[in-house]
Amino acid sequence: MPEAPYQIPTMAEMKSKGEIPEVLFWVGCAGSFDDRYKRVTLAFVKILNAAQIRFAVLGTEETCTGDPARRAGNEFLFQMQATNNIQVLNGYGIKKIVTACPHCFNTIKNEYPELGGNYEVIHHSAFLQQLITEGKIKFTGGAFKGKKITYHDSCYLGRANNIYEAPRSVLEALDADLVEMKRCRTTGLCCGAGGAQMFKEPEKGFKDINVERTEEAISTGATTIAVACPFCMTMMSDGVKNKNRESDVQVKDLAELIIEAQG
């Protein structure tokens, strides 16, 4: 479809043409189905197109990595998912995977090797950082100058995989005024959704974790809370709603911010 503005080839299409992509974009369930995070998927695809990255997606062949099942204790279901996914990935001879979900990232990178899936796995924050360094993402400039942005560390990127600087360097490239919360990097407070919490109500307590975290983010004076994870996106957005600050505080993914900066 050379006339279409954006290319989103699937692995099946590529294979039928005898092509091999540079990288597989693993969209993830949230990126595929969650209305809010679909916008992140679209933003990332736009960037990949603009940077002329030869990528592909699995389309309907992609399934849940099994992360929430494993964290909730259902190892059978996790391994069923993992084994099936690995068969598909290995079938296509995938070598390199990029994903905008830290949970998918962690599972494919750290847990698939033991089950026979060995790939170079990159989170989109590191991928974006690389594209910026290589000059493949260009900014028309100034959209974020002087704007306060705070970055909320995803546990599955940060503590789980020691990725603290890539998302921050993306934000710095936007020329934004990056302000840190007191609890950041290794001591960053969870949004409350990890470990399959996303899929049930919290236990009884005196406060919701996302509200606690959102209060901290808002107290920095930032008008944008940058996130790099679909679950953090949901939790922080709900937190902002809870605080009735939707009019002046926005929750955005790194890829969306790059698109905004490009005007």
């Binding site: 479809m1 279409a4 503005p5 954006y6 989103i8 369930c29 990126g31 595929s32 189905f33 679909k38 695809v45 997606v57 309907t60 399934t63 849940c64 929430p68 099942a69 494993r70 964290r71 909730a72 204790g73 259902n74 190892e75 059978f76 279901l77 069923m80 084994t83 099936n84 962690n106 750290n110 847990e111 033991e114 089950l115 546990c155 599955y156 503590r159 789980a160 995989n161 290794t186 001591t187 407070l189 969870c190 409350g192 959704a193 990890g194 470990g195 399959a196 919490q197 899929f199 049930k200 109500e201 919290p202 236990e203 009884k204 307590g205 005196f206 406060k207 974790i209 606690e212 975290r213």
Partner: protein, 437 residues
């Protein structure tokens, strides 16, 4: 001679009890599942050196780190003096090293005294932090009763033991002037000499009594304390070291694989490796009791000194949920002690009708965990409460099918729709329609 006999008996009794406890602790840790940890020795030694010897993680909070460092160095160095105590006690000598070491003995003694004072003051500060300033993490519910008393006993004992050293040295210095034949010269001792003026007025017999009493008090105190430690959270002074060595090296996000399940899944999918060894009895999935955890998890429970840095960082705990990673470790240890002690008396052990999950740790606690690894990151001796929580969850989900109903729905969605939400798998690629237009 009487003193020598008394000393040998005292030492023998202490060694007997310490040995008994070490054997019990060893066999209790061995209740855990086998796990071979012999990879990447250099990275493990690095953890041991930096985190245990170097106290690296303590320095995230500088004030307690410095106070703790004084007590830690004091413990390592003052124990050299205990060697002299033991030799003197066995052979009826007095300060046996003094004549051999000469001027260096004075340097050593002054170093010991400096550390004794530093330990003493640090312990006083710690008592104030715990009991007067009431630092929040020391007042969580799991600290009520014995754990808080245990902490205070440790600090008070250390203070009293340090006072004994200083008293002994002060009276010894006066006796060196009066009975130089029996009391070898140590040279001036900076800190205890401050006490000397108040000792000068006492008669020699009283001084001899005070010196001996302080000596006996110190050595008996140390021996008794050594036995006490094996029952106490203070065991971290020994087990913290191996715990850092055997700590997990994989990225924190990595969750332990279950090879038993891998075999079954591959058989179900018809892709089983013909050479795969199928274990006859897969045993229990996940953990219900301490013997379902790895020995490494159990060692960690004995290494925990209940500082509560994990709990202070836990998002669930901060927002009022029942989960406390410190309590997970304390419960594991309490259950291990219960089983281990029972087995030592030929009791019912694990078959006492109780279990770690249910009688100690509730589902409400483990369900509240976000697996964020804040507790793991916070621990100064690399304890991993998350591993235990996740193993308990595995038991609940796979053996009891007792996961929260919302999770069961999520499982069902993944099974039927290949996504944790109820969306049709054929719609998975619909997000692209907008851009394809």
């Amino acid at each position: 001679m009487v003193q020598q006999i008394a000393f040998i008996i005292t030492l023998g009794v202490a060694v007997y009890f310490i040995r008994k406890r070490i054997l019990l602790i060893r066999s209790t840790i061995k209740l855990g599942k086998e796990k071979i940890i012999n990879d990447n020795k250099s990275a493990r030694f690095k953890n041991l050196l930096l985190v245990a010897f170097g106290q690296k993680k303590m320095f995230k909070r500088p004030i307690p780190a410095i106070l703790h460092l004084f007590i830690y160095v004091g413990f390592l160095v003052i124990n050299l003096e205990v060697l002299e105590f033991v030799i003197d006690g066995l052979f009826g000598t007095h300060r046996i090293f003094a004549p051999y070491l000469g001027g260096f003995y004075n340097v050593l003694m002054n170093l010991f005294e400096f550390l004794a004072v530093a330990v003493l003051l640090s312990c006083v500060f710690f008592l104030i932090r715990r009991n007067i300033l009431k630092v929040k993490r020391f007042w969580a519910t799991e600290m009520n009763g014995w754990p808080r008393l245990d902490a205070n006993i440790i600090l008070l004992t250390e203070i009293v033991l340090m006072i004994a050293i200083l008293t002994m040295n002060a009276s010894d210095q006066v006796l060196q002037e009066r009975l130089s034949d029996h009391y070898p010269a140590t040279g001036a001792l900076l800190f205890s000499s401050l006490l000397v003026p108040s000792f000068q007025s006492l008669d020699t017999a009283t001084l001899i009594f005070i010196e001996r009493a302080a000596w006996w008090f110190h050595i008996v105190g140390i021996l008794a304390f050594s036995v006490y430690i094996t029952y106490s959270k203070h065991l971290h002074i020994f087990l913290g070291f191996p715990n850092t060595y055997f700590a997990k090296l994989e990225p924190k996000g990595h969750m332990e694989n279950m090879p038993v399940v891998t075999n079954e899944v591959k058989m179900m999918l018809g892709i089983a490796d013909a050479n795969a060894v199928s274990s006859a009895t897969p045993g229990r999935f996940g953990a219900k009791d301490v013997n379902d955890l790895s020995w490494n998890n159990l060692l960690a429970a004995y290494s925990c000194t209940e500082c509560g840095r994990c709990t202070a960082e836990c998002p669930a705990n901060i927002t009022g949920k029942k989960l406390s990673p410190r309590k997970i470790m304390m419960d594991t240890r309490d259950r291990m002690e219960e089983v281990g002690t029972s087995l030592a008396k030929n009791g019912s052990g694990l078959n006492d009708g109780k279990s770690l999950l249910g009688d100690y740790i509730t589902k409400e606690e483990i369900n509240a965990c976000t697996s964020c690894n804040a507790c793991v990151e916070a621990c100064p001796v690399l304890i991993n409460p998350l591993e235990i929580i996740l193993e308990l969850r595995r038991y609940v989900a796979m053996e009891e099918s007792g996961a929260p109903s919302a999770w069961n729905s999520m499982f069902q969605n993944i099974e039927t729709n290949f996504a944790p939400w109820k969306f049709s798998p054929s719609d998975r690629f619909n997000w692209a329609n907008e851009l394809k237009k």
